[in-house]
Amino acid sequence: MGFGPILSALMRNKTGPALVALQIAVTLAIVINSLFIILQRVEKMNRDPGIDVDNVIVTYVRGFGDDFDVIASITNDINLIKTIPGVVAATVTNHVPLSGSGSATGLRTVPDETIDAVSTGRYRWGEEGLDALGVTLSRGRNFYAEEVNYILPDTSAPTPPSVLVTQDLADSLFPDDDALGKSVYWGDMEPSTIVGIIDHMHGSWVNWDKLGNVVIQPGKPAYTTNKYIIRVEPGMRDELMPIIEQKLGESNRRRVIKSNRSLEELADRSYRRDRGMAIILSVVITLLIGLTALVIVGLSSFHVTQRRKQIGTRRALGAKRIDIIKQFMLENWLITTAGATLGVVLTVGVAYWLEVSFELERLDWRLLPAGIVTLWVLSSLAVFEPARRAAAVPPAVATRSV
């Protein structure tokens, strides 16, 4: 049996098949657009931060009392942390990458306030900073120990002019030139010299489009809250975290351990909106596909029962079992394809709405053919069992009165 009789059968009773086709169309629009959003979020979360996230511990402490000597406290803390077996490197820093808290500035290649600056994340840490984050320097040199001094708040002590920049920032500042050894100018037009280039590293705000732009100055910030970045041997993080907290707590009672967390936890928290959206949409499309498949199974089962007599008659007139299966599969295929065609239009419509209203990226068109093929396979699977049962109807049914 070809398309002809099936089509004319479908046309005789349009409403039911039309509803199923419409349902398939809307399903396709939701699934493809959701899937696109999920893929984008997953891609974003899987970006390489250039940092040894798994083996870094971040500890914030804050002293109190008039006689609290912040410089002595930081010096003792870092020395103490480094005596703990398993600790690879430790530094005090102004901010912690990936944490959602940071500082940004604008840099220029010429000392002229009227031209636009290149925006970048800004950090300040000691000569062990790169090692403490597991960041690799691709060219140039790290800070010398003598360049690294304590920086107190509300002082304008001169900072040595050496800075490290990421390759991303180097490329934004000097698109045509090698940035190593070049001068850059801060907002106050003070110059610095790029002494080293970091291959790749993420800054503090994962939603910022300048995430890869980072500039680092030498110094040990001695502010109210002291932030320590500590890298440990692989696999030792969870074991060392409580030890570090305990030792720091015991060494000085005039101080509060504000927080002691893994960098992984801080980074996860920064990405929680993206992860949340990806998980919610995954649940939504799973439920949707499940529901649509069940409805197709339910409807076709019911139709098989309704059409037992008709099937028996066809069998009695010489149709083979495979012909009956073919009939149901073909009918389903026609409905699915009609739904998919309408679905493509709807999908593009929804994608346009998302792009215009919410500044989402343009839908990747390759998801469309992939979605249609998946739909064919799924709906064929859904209708196969009912079709098989239809084929099992014996020809003798036709001869019975009811």
Binding site: D66, I280, G298
Partner: protein
């Protein structure tokens, strides 16, 4: 008649259990998902202080760089925070009915006894008007007096939780605690207060818990209080002392004013213009005059408090509900076809079309109700999941009775709409036709 219809409906539902279960599942899942996303949207989009949202205004003044706007993408906007000294002068002028300058900070609460441990607590540094302006409820005591503002007295208002931790929840008014080496006197303890969104500070987060305590803004200089929130600067200034920092062009103070009536906003902007006009003579505020006031809901829009993700989810979940309704219509049609002979028989025995039609609708309404209840359960689970995923404070996203009624109503109404066409089809079945073939 109604109870008879319900009885028939239940009977009919039992006869085609699989189709009925599918319909209930479709409505349940559709309602569950759309109520989950709607509740989150409703929470984000809610008015946190309905009786005052049109007389409370956040203010902005354009003190930014003469060379470029504060926000390149929205050049018409002034910085969303003020400098410390501008806020202080506006407080002194006191043009509105009430006003507060404010920022977030944190202080260490030092132990009184040797065996206690010090800990850090978040503080909102604000003016005495804060509490009356924002309808803050008190359990004990009250906010501090204007005289405490003027004299920079170390007084503190605690949240219920912090009072619990420090004083075991008793009336602690008049008691003292040590912070920054200073003895603070407790002026009051506030009751649970969860404005959602946290409208007075969307900049540092519209969906966080409120700070653990409140202290006077005038303590900023004597105690050298530092902002734990964001600060924005454009000018390269030589800062070597805390006082210089307070006098710098850095914007880090938020400012709210309460006016007598929404009509007073233009007069207040004129007041700001006059202030900025004076400052211009001193060589500050070099940009064109750009002072604004935003009422609470405008301020929420300004900061895009409703996340785009939430809007996308609401849109997609309503498409989902459409799929569920299409399923329901298809399933109902199929089911009613199977009831042809029964309907014919009832018609032949004298049941009018209207009776048949009503009976079909009662059946879908019952299905809608059951689906709606299941949807509510799913929505409760969904909201719990969202709370875990986004680490939201307890109780931030939960169904209130408005949402419960909406869910049931939506379920019943949408299933009835879905049932109209199939019911119409059924009552067109002629009385005798089906009987003949038997």
């Amino acid at each position: 008649m109604f109870s008879y219809n319900v009885k028939l409906a239940l009977k009919s539902m039992r006869r085609n259990l699989i189709l009925t279960a599918l319909m209930i599942a479709a409505i349940g899942v559709g309602i569950g998902i759309s109520m989950t996303t709607m509740t989150v949207y409703y929470m984000m989009n809610g008015n946190p202080i309905p009786d005052k949202s049109d007389v409370l205004f956040a203010i902005t003044m354009d003190s930014w760089s003469p060379l470029r706007p504060f926000n390149d993408d929205k050049p018409e906007r002034a910085p969303h925070q003020l400098t410390f000294h501008d806020a202080e002068r506006l407080l002194a002028l006191g043009e509105g009915k009430r006003q507060t300058a404010m920022f977030e900070s944190s202080l260490i609460i030092e132990p009184v006894n040797e065996d206690e441990l010090p800990f850090e607590a978040g503080a909102r540094v604000a003016s005495s008007d804060f509490f009356t302006m924002f309808n803050v409820p008190f359990i004990y005591g009250s906010g501090w007096d204007k005289s405490a503002d003027a004299a920079a007295e170390p007084v503190v208002v605690l949240t219920k939780q912090l009072n619990e931790r420090l004083f075991g929840g008793e009336n602690s008014v008049g008691k003292q605690l040590i912070m920054q080496g200073t003895y603070f006197q407790v002026a009051g303890v506030i009751d649970t207060w969860e404005p959602t969104p946290r409208f007075y500070d969307p900049i540092n987060g519209a969906f966080q818990e409120i700070n653990e305590m409140f202290i006077p803004y005038s303590l900023t200089l004597p105690l050298e209080l530092q902002s734990a929130g964001s600060d924005w600067g454009w000018k390269a200034e030589d800062i070597t002392s805390f006082e210089q920092w307070l006098n710098s062009e850095s914007s880090w103070v938020q400012y709210f004013v309460e006016l007598e009536s929404p009509r007073d906003r233009e007069a207040y902007v004129a007041h700001l213009d006059a202030y900025v006009g004076e400052q211009k003579l001193l060589g500050r505020f070099e940009r064109p005059m750009n002072n604004n006031v935003y009422n609470v809901m405008e301020w929420m829009d300004y900061h895009e408090v409703v996340a785009n993700d939430s809007k996308v989810l609401v849109g997609l979940s309503f498409l989902f509900l459409t799929v569920c309704l299409l399923s329901t219509i298809a399933l109902l049609l199929t089911k009613f076809v199977g009831k042809k002979s029964e309907t014919s028989l009832r018609r032949a025995l004298g049941a009018s079309r209207k009776v048949i039609f009503n009976q079909q609708l009662v059946e879908v309404a019952v299905i809608g109700c059951v689906g709606g209840l299941i949807g509510l359960l799913l929505a409760t689970a969904g909201l719990k999941g969202i709370q875990v995923l986004y680490e939201a404070p307890d109780g931030l996203v939960s169904l209130d009775w408005v949402m419960v009624m909406t869910a049931i109503g939506l379920a019943v109404v949408s299933s009835m709409i879905a049932g109209l066409y199939p019911a119409w089809r059924v009552c067109k079945i002629p009385p005798a036709a089906q009987l003949k073939t038997q």
